[in-house]
């Protein structure tokens, strides 16, 4: 009886192998142009353009929609669905649409599709996550209303004064104008973002109200259309749209397979059940280059990781202290050892994903120099204990601890990393002005302009300026840059503003993100852009 067990197991194993062979042995008769490829994805939160500010939803919408503006390799904007985007004063922008584009249901794309979509997006009570992108447009404020007694109070917010923005005007079927409340030279680039896609009339149940189930099968104006509906937690299937007027895709369809864990995506890529993984998880980075060979790829993205010094903490108020801490951090060691090259050292206050980026604009303070750091730190009387607060749910412990160890060794101080359960908890502590020490922060751009880093991160009252940095001179330069007549002049002014940051050191730039992606042998020409999206028009099937 004992002897029979191994035999049984062997028989079972053979049966399973035969079964496996039978499953995968089916011939692939379709040609490369009709091939359906698969891309790994996390479950999107929404598939309504104006409510999509996270990367999963944006990835799918990029296949279903065509933007007015896209960006070339140098981050310069060029028109796609727009024939031209022009302005003489950077305040009134005239947008001419290309003729011939249709939505997937056959509707012709006209100016009203943009105007209606944008008004819906900006209307406060609709609660769209991307509505703040429209705040530069004239009349945006009239579409908002404030709860008279705050969130906790019993009263409800009154209806806003208007339902449409005065800054949006139709000229003819294919032309409309956007009037901004203040001149902004970078508006062309802003319109490249996901929230600026048009919506067909079929999306609306009545004027200004979207159909409940629109996002289950969004109808767009893009190269791919939905095949069936969004199968939550499972997959989203698309197929090439035959009547697409723009550049045709090179594959017959894209299936977005939804995963909860990135490691499962990677396992499926290795197992042959998935074609593209856009972000290889850090657990697999050690083996991925060997597993994938030349199908393992890296490229820059817009992620910028840094630590900020809350201005209410007196121990970091001296700029020499801040610079010395920065000098004592060996960024390269951390990106190589903790992140295994999936991130690279940052020595500027903006990401290389934007036009106007200069390498090492931070200069000496971001160059590793432990001896000088220690001397400066002691001369300036830096604190005996340094604290770094981070959110524990984001995988930050390893590098925070590594940074702390470097500071301990190089500055001879005590350093602790404190993990808060969630990012919101960290923010709460900052709001209460508790002693949080340095705070870990990160930023992904919305549109490729220096202003998208400078304004929100370092501007007075900027949306993500949690540390409270404020310098009127800096604010002024950013503002002048935004109002500059040309983009080149804008960049010059913004670079001057960045120089002020290098002087004031309100944050320590630490790392730049990298797309670390891989694909199967079934596909080629796979590129992941700076927005962490697969270049959907370039990807091809090999057979």
């Amino acid at each position: 009886m004992r002897g029979q067990f191994p035999l049984k197991m062997a028989v079972g194993a053979t049966a399973i192998m035969l079964l496996a062979a039978g499953c995968s042995g089916g011939g692939d008769e379709t040609s490369a142009a009709d091939a359906v490829i698969s891309i790994g994805l996390g479950e999107p939160q929404h598939l309504i353009p104006s409510n999509t500010t996270e990367s999963n939803g944006a990835e799918v919408l990029a296949a279903l929609f065509t933007p007015l503006i896209d960006f070339d390799a140098d981050n310069k904007p060029y028109t796609v669905a727009a024939e031209s985007v022009e302005s003489t004063d950077n305040k009134v922008w005239t947008i001419k649409l290309k003729d011939g584009y249709t939505f997937h249901n056959g509707e012709k794309v006209v100016a009203d599709n943009y105007i209606n979509a944008w008004n819906h997006a900006a209307y406060g009570p609709n609660g769209n996550g991307g509505s703040y992108f429209f705040e530069r447009i004239e009349g945006y404020k009239d579409l908002q209303s404030k709860d008279p007694d705050g969130e906790e109070g019993p009263q409800k917010a009154p209806d806003p004064a208007a339902k449409t923005m005065t800054g949006l005007k139709k000229v003819d079927d294919l032309t409309f104008t956007v009037t901004l409340s203040e001149p902004f030279s970078g508006w062309r680039s802003v319109m490249g973002y996901t929230v600026f896609y048009p919506l067909p009339n079929a999306a609306f149940a009545s004027e200004g109200v979207l159909k409940e189930d629109y996002e289950q099968a969004p109808i767009g104006n893009g190269p791919f259309k939905m095949k069936g509906t969004w199968q939550h937690d499972s997959k989203i299937e698309t197929e090439a749209y035959a009547d697409y007027a723009g550049e045709k895709p090179k594959v017959g369809g894209v299936t977005y397979k939804i995963y909860q864990e990135q490691t499962a995506q990677y396992a499926d890529l290795m197992g042959g059940a998935l074609d593209v993984v856009t972000q290889i998880p850090i657990e697999n980075l050690a083996s991925a280059p060997a597993d994938l060979g030349d199908r393992f790829k890296t490229g820059p993205n817009s992620v910028f990781q840094f630590v900020g010094f809350p201005t209410f903490l007196p121990q970091y108020s001296k700029v020499e202290v801040r610079k010395a801490i920065s000098m004592a951090i060996n960024r390269k060691e951390i990106t190589d050892n903790v992140f295994r090259g999936s991130q690279s050292p940052a020595t500027s206050f903006v990401s290389p994903a934007v036009a106007g980026y200069r390498e090492n604009s931070c200069g000496a303070p971001c160059t590793y120099d432990p001896a000088k750091a220690k001397a400066d730190y002691e001369a300036a009387g830096g604190p005996k204990q340094i604290k770094i607060t981070y959110n524990a749910d984001g995988g930050h412990k390893a590098w925070v601890d590594a940074t702390c160890n470097q500071l301990k060794t190089n500055l001879g101080v005590d350093c602790v990393g404190v993990g808060e359960p969630k990012f919101a908890d960290l923010l709460t502590k900052v709001e209460k002005k508790e002693d949080v020490g340095m705070i870990r922060l990160g930023w992904i751009m919305d549109y490729p302009l220096m202003e998208n880093y400078l304004g929100p991160l370092y501007g007075t009252g900027g949306s993500s300026n949690y540390y409270g940095y404020s310098n009127p001179e800096f604010d002024n330069l950013v503002k002048q840059g935004s109002a500059a007549p040309t983009e080149d002049e804008a960049i010059k002014l913004w670079q001057q503003a960045e120089d002020i940051l290098a002087r004031d050191m309100p944050v320590i730039p630490l790392r730049l993100g990298q797309n670390v992606y891989g694909h199967s042998e079934r596909v080629k020409n796979v590129e992941v852009d700076k927005f962490q999206k697969v270049e959907i028009l370039k990807i091809e099937a090999t057979s």
Partner: protein, 308 residues
Amino acid sequence: MFRYFVRRVLQGVLTFFGATFIVYALMFANQDDPLQALAGERPLPENVRQALTERYHLDDPFILQYGHYMRGLLTGDFGISLTNRPISEMMAQAWPVTIRLAVFAIIISALVAVTAGIVSGIRRGGIFDTTTLVITLILLSLPIVVLAPLAQLLFGVQLKWFPATAGAEPGFYQLMLPAMVLSCLVIATQIRVTRASVAENLRSDYVRTARAKGLANRRVIGVHVLRNSLIPVVTLIGVDLGNLMAGAIVTEGVFNIPGVGFNLFRGIRTEDGPLVVGFVSVLVIVFLVVNLVVDLLYAVLDPRIRYE
């Protein structure tokens, strides 16, 4: 028997309300800013906060929110999740796949555990017994967070015997590997219980009597020993079924199965109260029903047990 049944059902109703109340209170205490959790690290625009707060009644006090939720629950309305999906729809998708996975795992574990347990119970101290002891020790000491990715790497990625992940609508073959991994959670205990129970019964008086009156060994073990030995095992398997459904969080994550465990994890991570409470409520019912069935089965299997 009938009175016992009614009493148990009434107790079940009480347990159900108590459990949902506690879970709801815990989720409420854990909830600090679910809307911010939804937005990640991005600042949440004021208008969005305002609109969503109203939609999900987040500004109501606890007891009102709970009342609101329970009223929905009792009329069969589980509410909507913070990502704007009806929770009943998410359940309809998650439960069938988790039930399939758990039942599959139970069948595998029961088959293996009962067979191995009986054999090692009869031949105590033999090579087979020692080997199973070692294997069960290894299985017991390997946490599932190690076991699941290891099995996936070995059998899914390298040997390619099984698909690496199962997906949302897995077939029998796709579910095989996750079910085997999941069954490892309970298999070790089941083997030990079966073995102990068989060993104990072999020494009992009635077996000696049966042997003394000249019954064939096959009949002694097959009819007398087995029937009595399996009573505790059946109980254990029943209770395990509930455990497996609730405890599949890791396995479902690794093998990408959007079932109950995954939804619970997502709900906790995004501070999505209605989502978590909805799933837990159903889990509570599953536990109550399974326990009741097991207790009733006990009486059927063992005539000595009578319920009043």
